[in-house]
Amino acid sequence: MKKVHGILLFSLGLAASTAAALAADEAPAAKAATASAAKTWWSYEPVQAPAAPAVKNRQWLRTPIDAFVLARLEEQKLKPSRDADRATYIRRATLDTLGYIPRPEEVQDFVNDRSPDAYEKLVDRLLSSPHYGERQARRWLDYARYADSTGFQNDQTRPNIWRYRDYVINAFNSDKPYDQFVREQIAGDELYNGSNKDALAATGFLANYPDNYNSRDLIQRKYQITTDMVDTVGEVMLGQTIGCARCHNHKFDKISQQEYFQLQAFFANTSELNDIPAGLGPQELVYQAQQAKYQEATKEIRAQQKEILDSVRDKGLQYHKERYLTDSREAIFKPKEQWTALDRWVNHRLDNVTTDADIAAYLKLSAEEKDSPELYVAENVEKWAKFKKLSEDLKQYEDLKPEGGSDKITAVGELGHADAPPTFVLFGGSHERPLDQVQPGFPAAIARGEQPVIAPPLTALGNAYSSGRRIALANWIASASNPLTARVYVNRVWNDYFGRGIVRTVSDFGRAGEKPSNPELLDYLASDFVSHGWSVKHLHRQILLSSVYRQASDYRPELQKADPENKLLAVFPRKRLDAEQIRDSLLVAAGQLNETIGGPSVFAPLPDAIKAGNLWKVSKDQSQWNRRSLYIFTRRSVAYPMLQTFDMASPQQAHLKRDVTTTPLQALTLYNNELVFQWSQQLAGRIIREAGRDESRQLDRLYEVLFARKPDAQEKATLLSFLGEHESFIKNKVVDGKLALAEPIGVKDAKGLDPIRASAFVDLVHTVANSNDFSYRF
């Protein structure tokens, strides 16, 4: 409630989530932090390279990590857990690195490998699999709020953005040094003379922001976009909640409001570019060929449509431009020769979002609104009628259009000038209340006085094509001396493996966050990461081969008291599989996974009840439906329900840690979903195919596929007796005559297979796949 005559404190033009003035007051560490504000904060101190601590049980050490963990355990007089058995280990490691369960043959090979470097060979195999990049990319795409569409009301498809996803997959697979990975995502357009197409696609990290193309307030939109970029970079790469400083000086961290807007200034000139030609590979050639077919078939119709639109284009464009609000219109209607850098941004944006559909919309109104003298144009009635007819004709050719794909790259870039729009400190974070102008700069507390050196990059001809601002920022973030970058990233990877970071608040290395539970370990990992050329695979390898990671997850009563939250890692923490791991593993088990890597995103069918219309045109090629989950089209307004229910990342903001919730809707999703049931039928068919008719062997095989182990005696007895008793339920059903039998799918020779028993077996398989052992990794 505010009084209109009083001072308008917050004219809210923006993402309020980042305007945490009052909310921040309530964060628990507030008072203590303020009191010690004069001291520097641990995460702003340079990374040290600590020596491994001395430990008693030296036999336990496999990688340096182990010493850091064991030293803490020994301090508390705790023993680490025994090694997990090999089958458990390979299931765990395969899920963690590749994102799905291992094949039984892989388990067998590893279990039987008696060579001294069996673990090393396994880890090398996993890290060199092209599916490693897919799994790691999914983690990063969470941070990048990756989606294939813009979100908001119209939720337009971003037809090229999948190239960013593929860039990320390739970066992990080729073990691109993390510093380079960071630099390219922030400033790929300013690096390499702007000519490296991969690096251009990398800036999709910035271009991925949620956007409403129909916004009428482009000044506000620019501010929202810039805010999204700077807050995302701050949270993801620096582990800093810098957005808190947008409305006021940061309550806990030494980031002033002025320093926040100095960070915004790095992005002041950043525009979305959607028309960069992609390199021509098979995908592009197929796309172009199909596009050419469509163009050719519809040439005549489109030419006629264009002629009609051209005849009203000027008035239509004028009408369209008038929909923008006062300050946007100032830029839009200004003659080009008078454009400032800000006007260039606004007009580029206008171009990006204006299409012939806007002219057609005007034509329609001018033909239909008889009661509106300002709008109605009698001669347009006939034109509209003709245009409408042509549009109908055009629809017949819809099937000729490429189903997806593109031959362009989406990136961010500047518009060919060295100057940038001014950035101001904004009172209360409101873009309508500018205060002092600021220049790009780093937060002093973190950068320790280092300030950016900004030099506009030049083309081969010596012309400045960009301001060079983001390159300066990228170089600072991706520098070995930045105290945050390496720490934040190694902590994320640790969090993925052990379910909690060394700094538990993975996105807040500031004062409101928690301190590292083992600072020496964190610094060891960070310094080792940098000294190994920022190699992400090296980091994974160290963890995977450590004794810490190799521990069993067995229950140990004495630890419940000594370390109930398992901070010290005396036992391996079991974890619920995440949404993609569940779906992908079910597909692997059913033998149905389409392992194709990369390319345009696909539309697997939605449940009939979801009426997504044109936002979700199911892929015609059914083999695409069984692609890995990260290839399912991420429509910001229509989440794929099977994944969403299992806490998949929300693509609206950087999603830095997955929740684990346990709900009845998840149970319904796995138990009643016809698709999952069909996968169980296929799995049942596979088991019979591979294990033959002996039921005991079938059960062994089923457990090997799903859990990488055999059932114990009690489980086997339970399952066999279930089969017998369950037959009567199936028989009753058949007697009713209401339901058909669910049979195993894909049994080569069904002769001699008792249909009742086989149907009971399908239920058994489906039930076992629903059990806790499947949805967890231990």
Partner: protein, 482 residues
């Protein structure tokens, strides 16, 4: 510091997963020792009913979002001056301080062909578009000085539901489910109902749990007998057969769980299948209208084509709050008007548009209020009639109106609201609110207050920030509370 750290450690559960939920937040009402220790040892149930901060007036909310922005100038906000000045330019003094579009011409004030009457003891004005609702004038609390931000629907709808112009925050319904837990474990605590051929504008971000755990997100109830996705067993699995399967599942899970005796998360997953089994029966029953009398159905307009869709949703809404659902969000759908799917967004031809939409909702809403009243549910159910913004007094395209976030009317009813009362006003032509204005955050704070919650104390720690439903704004409008 140590005290604070301890508090966080108690309240935040780590990823080790000793419990049912990796909950990163605080519990409403501050530190409840029993609940905190449950969270610490992981046995907390995220949907367990939780006490409000103070005595609640309302147990449930029915949130009637009129999608597309009806012109409240043509429904409730009677402006004789507008009728007088119709056809003239908007006097410049009225436009001060606002940014407008000029599309379709700004300037000419436009009056629709309404006739107006006062109703009830409160003497509230209603236009002839809402003859049925007008009969309930004395049940309503009008907020005639509403304001919001935004020139396009999407961002303002987001703000209406989440308090933010960008996606990512939890909606009011999600906060409610988080703060109060479930009132009926066989049903989701937060349900979304909508009609029409398409998903509502902006889609599921408008019932998202944002940074709260997914367990608090709205569950969209679909039309037809099976409202929740995957509610029925697979076609080839009979119910008795499924029960037998579930018994096997329980045996298998229990056998393995014995290896992890302290692991309540595994226990919770085992229980979730039993909850799901019960939901299979409870959810269809909750929307099964066959046991409703013909008189009740007629009350909601189920006997007429024009009102059937919306009436069905409102009757479902009543059944849901009756069964303990905390928050029911009902979104109006598009209606075919002269061959074009339209919501309330009448940039042109407002007469026709609003006649159709008002007809679709008038009788059902009146029916809902009457029905809640007669069942004694109105006292414990807060009904909120709201929209992302409203429409301008100046015309657009000759016979429509543009978007107006500066001044418009919303109303609340039941659930402890001050009945037969009008709060605030707009200027003489109905363009801007004047005096004390009510923003989205204030409405949210007030709704939470009626639910017994202090909006400043409903907090959740997200990425180092203590977040609350009203972002950094919001004030309870005490005048609206009885």
């Amino acid at each position: 510091m140590s005290k604070h750290t301890t508090r966080r450690e108690l309240l935040i559960k780590g990823g080790l997963g000793l419990g049912g939920l990796a909950l990163n937040g605080l519990i409403p009402g501050g530190l409840n020792a029993a609940y905190a220790s449950e969270l610490a040892n992981g046995s907390a149930d995220p949907l367990a009913p939780k006490p409000p901060h103070f005595a609640a007036k309302a147990k449930s909310v029915i949130w009637l979002h009129q999608d597309g922005a009806p012109s409240t100038l043509d429904l409730y906000d009677y402006k004789p001056q507008l009728e007088k000045l119709a056809g003239q330019e908007v006097p410049a003094s009225f436009l001060k301080g606002i940014k407008t579009s000029t599309q379709g011409g700004v300037g000419k004030l436009y009056a629709s062909k309404r006739s107006w009457k006062q109703y009830g003891e409160s003497g509230a004005w209603f236009s002839d578009l809402l003859p049925n609702l007008a009969q309930h004038a004395d049940k309503l609390t009008f907020i005639k000085s509403s304001v919001t931000v935004g020139a396009t629907h999407d961002i303002s709808i987001l703000k209406l539901n989440t308090g933010d112009l960008n996606p990512g925050r939890p909606t009011l319904g999600a906060w409610t489910a988080y703060a109060l837990g479930s009132g009926n474990r066989d049903l989701p605590p937060y349900v979304v109902l909508y009609s029409g051929k398409k998903e509502p504008s902006g889609g599921s971000v408008n019932w998202s749990s944002g940074f709260l755990p997914a367990v608090y997100q709205g569950v969209a109830f679909r039309s037809g007998p099976s409202p929740i996705l995957y509610l029925q067993p697979p076609e080839l699995v009979a119910l008795a057969q499924q029960r037998d399967n579930l018994d096997l599942l329980k045996r298998l899970n229990q056998h393995r769980a014995a290896r992890y005796p302290q692991d309540t998360e595994l226990q919770a997953r085992l229980n979730s299948y039993e909850l799901a089994y019960r939901m299979q029966a409870a959810a269809p029953e909750s929307v099964d209208l066959s046991k409703e009398s013909d008189a009740t159905k007629a009350l909601y307009g189920l006997d007429e084509e024009a009102t059937r869709d919306y009436g069905t949703n409102l009757l479902r809404a009543r059944r849901l709050v009756e069964r303990g659902v905390r928050f029911v969000q009902v979104v109006t759908g598009a209606v075919d008007i002269d061959g074009e799917d339209q919501n309330w967004d009448a940039h042109k031809n407002l007469e026709r548009n609003h006649a159709v939409h008002a007809r679709a909702v008038d009788k059902p809403i009146a029916g809902l209020l009457a029905d809640l009243k007669s069942r004694g549910l109105l006292d414990s159910t807060l009904v909120v009639w709201t929209s992302e913004f409203s429409r301008t007094p100046y015309g657009q395209s000759g016979n429509g109106r543009d978007h107006n976030p500066w001044g418009y009317t919303q109303w609340i009813a039941g659930g402890g609201a001050k009945a037969g009362f009008t709060f605030g006003e707009t200027d003489e032509i109905g363009l801007k609110s004047q005096g004390v204005t009510v923003d989205t955050y204030d409405l949210h704070a007030t709704v939470l207050a009626l639910l017994g919650l202090d909006h400043l104390k409903v907090t959740f720690l997200n990425n180092g920030r203590s977040e609350r439903p009203t972002v950094v704004y919001g004030e309870v409008i005490k005048d609206l509370i009885a």
